[in-house]
Symmetry: C2
Subunit: 569 residues, 2 copies
Amino acid sequence: MPFRAPVADCQFILDHVVDYAQVSATERFAQAGADTVAAILDEAAKLTDNVLAPVNRNGDTDPARLENGVVVTPKGFAQAYAQLAEGGWMGLSASEEAGGMGLPATVATAVNEMMQSGCLALMLNPLMTQGQIEALEHHASDDLKAIYLPKLISGAWCGTMNLTEPGAGSDVGALRAKAEPLDDGTYAISGQKIFITWGDNDFAENICHLVLARLPDGAAGTKGISLFMVPKYLPQADGTLGAQNDLKVVSLEHKLGIHGSPTCVMEYNAAKGWLVGEKHGGMAAMFTMMNNARLGVGVQGVAMAEAATQKALDYSLERTQGRTSGPTGKIFDHTDVRRMLATMRADTYAARALALACGVALDLGRATGDADWQARAALLIPIAKAFGTDTGHDVAQIGVQVHGGMGYIEETGAAQFARDARITQIYEGTNGIQALDLVGRKLADGGEAAARLLDEIEAFAESVRASHTALAGPLWDAAETLRETTEHLVTLPVGARGAGAVPYLRAFARVLGGYFHLKAAVAEGGSGKRSRLACFYIERLLPEHRALLAAVSAGSATVEALEVGDLEG
Amino acid sequence: MPFRAPVADCQFILDHVVDYAQVSATERFAQAGADTVAAILDEAAKLTDNVLAPVNRNGDTDPARLENGVVVTPKGFAQAYAQLAEGGWMGLSASEEAGGMGLPATVATAVNEMMQSGCLALMLNPLMTQGQIEALEHHASDDLKAIYLPKLISGAWCGTMNLTEPGAGSDVGALRAKAEPLDDGTYAISGQKIFITWGDNDFAENICHLVLARLPDGAAGTKGISLFMVPKYLPQADGTLGAQNDLKVVSLEHKLGIHGSPTCVMEYNAAKGWLVGEKHGGMAAMFTMMNNARLGVGVQGVAMAEAATQKALDYSLERTQGRTSGPTGKIFDHTDVRRMLATMRADTYAARALALACGVALDLGRATGDADWQARAALLIPIAKAFGTDTGHDVAQIGVQVHGGMGYIEETGAAQFARDARITQIYEGTNGIQALDLVGRKLADGGEAAARLLDEIEAFAESVRASHTALAGPLWDAAETLRETTEHLVTLPVGARGAGAVPYLRAFARVLGGYFHLKAAVAEGGSGKRSRLACFYIERLLPEHRALLAAVSAGSATVEALEVGDLEG
């Protein structure tokens, strides 16, 4: 069966789990009421099911390629992109002043998840543009905004982000790209950038590169980095495009997945650039986007998990193998197959609810300026990124397993989800970096934001303990264990938190998943499908938190004692 | 750095962890003493490092392809194969009477692990031949043995196994291939077989297919299946090759990994075949091989884990990124990177020790006829298969993560190990099937074999509790929890064990890993590298067993209650 965008589940979560109504109750997002959101989700679902999902396999089997210095995109991508642009989807979260829809991050999150399930490789293109729009809105001069924003929002031009260099990945501050001031107030940008997603394409009139580089007087490290707009074609005063800039795509990477998305090595040879934001303020500009971008990537994981879950469920209802005494007569009836499918669905739901909860916190933090909501968003973002993407990959791998031998055959398409998902655990800050952000910066308040969230979870569990004993009890206990571990963790110097970072983040996500499942079960009332899924999650997936938190409590000494020779075998 | 076969670790495990000396103390394996084994491991290591590992990337980048009905193999594969044949490695475990080396399964396991680390895709070829040799030795007529065994053992001919059909995978009994008796005592074999590993190649004189098919009077299901030898070219009375048989390779699969290994769709059109073993006795013949083959596949996982661990460690010692205060100045110093590397090494060790322990039990069961050793081998095989292959894939995926963005680029080679490893969790009985075998057939003795093993583990932990408190205590507790869960599990009807099968198997492997790590630490004496790794394992990986066993104890009701609609989201 073809992909069906999960409108009903998104809607249920918005209405009953993450209380989206709080967002549309603010003045800023008053226009994004329940009816509007429902209509947007329906439109996004149509585009996903009818336009995006049908081109997804093309991207994998006929990767983007470089011909005579220009990227040629997979069959059908240009047409699908044109429909995205026509529908105004590029400006989903751009401000209304700039010509965008001005929608809350929560709604953008739901829409992007669906569309990325349809075709992740293509959707990375508008996602880059959306990030660039956000950066320009916050940091660019009015002149730059006037030139670029309308073109980016209409989809006529595309945007890219140029951070990484061969020696500067997780450590952006190590970059070597240079910016030389020119007499006319612009800059000559030189250097090589790698891993540039959609660094070129054959369907946009112009490609607008936001490039991090160092001015001659820029200090070493992140403090000396500035941000520049470096377009492929130079816009002229009359609004038309002029000469080609001194930049080029040197090569495309041959990757494990997202083959439809050209990952470029870019070379800038004194290319003309315009400063965006303050001199040496490049990192500040990047940080503005980073929270959104990290949530955006987390949602890519949810998207892959959803697509993989649907595909595996469909297969399990088509494939006959072995005796079954169950109702379908297909492999769905085998208990171990159902265990796999339930794990996929329960974790997909948990990751989706987490992403949407994160969106609500972001929106409320912005709309109300409330410091608690801002801290909540900051706390949830690394968890949503890492758990969302780990879930994307893990669930897709379970999907391969459900398919048995057919899962290993590329034509089946099950493996593509796993390959495509795999990059999401790495880019936009590896999941290890997310975990270090969580135990470092995000607990720098002494764990206050975490404690407030755990208060909320425990209070909710307490309030439904009588009616939902089997679910509320284990969740309350898990939240309490997480609280104790958090209280212990914040007493350690940040350096000693390293070995516990990844397990801590995952345990936190497990507890949050339990909270969202319990909320769903309670909202459902009786004992329907959401309650059965919540039972499964709390009985079988939540308990993982114990071993994880034990590892956190064990500290870093055992890990730090290990020497190179110990790991040689 | 190029791959270095893990001779020292294998040797240490044989000497200090799995007590290989018991095997060479038997009359049957008296010739495989310590010096002989050491010499064999050294030779295998040389071939691995110098001949096999260098062609591994070729297989991935230039997959085997079908040209005019013949499989063309990747560059360098034919030459590497010739060296394997020259060295006599095809006959590693074949009996000496038949011209083989007659080595114990334990030694074959160690050798195959190394060589598969070098090039899994190529090594699947001799592995298939080894399986065929074993089947023929046990079941074929003397005439067939005389024709085929010398050619297979010399490597002049290759062997394949033809079980799977489109509608008969895990459920072999559903197969449709037919065998019609001919007047000359041979049979006409017709049908389509899929997923046939190395179904053809361009370097062997003949390809010998063992094919499962049903005789006209064969009952439905597995009881009516017979085994046939169906060679590509028909051997003549004078020993030369005659006409081509009526069989062909229809197509090759396009797979996620092991691209160098041609996975064929085979078509048999009244091809001439010879019965192997009894009529309708095909499954019995398959079962003879199955234990060995399952251990063999488990070891493929260990092989991928070792290769991935070495590669990630090398990278971590080359790559500079971010500030470190550690001794190497490279990303190795980051605690979270070391945590990943330690997980890789600790689990690779555990999976290797498990495979070798399984080999020892197989060998002792055969050499002594002791029912306890036979039961031990039967118990360990599904665990070694599933945990070995899960470890292979999981460890390789951690290796991708250690490489960061570079891990996603195919040229790096890190992703290949994960892609190649992925099939091992599926073929030769999916890991779900292994788990069902464990909780069903392998606990059919009421858990006696498991209890004897747990007695041994607890007694060992008890005996070193004073000197190794921090390790022995948690291991004893874990073994005891596993014992209690096992005692509970065997009271359930087999049908109700399904939802707990996979977690039970993994928990069992976790406890065994703890046992092997403790043994290594004790053998090492003081507080060296093996003790530090054991600490890491017991502190951070062993605790996973608790959540797993809790899931087992929860039973199957929650899973069985799930309906199709619950999993639709």
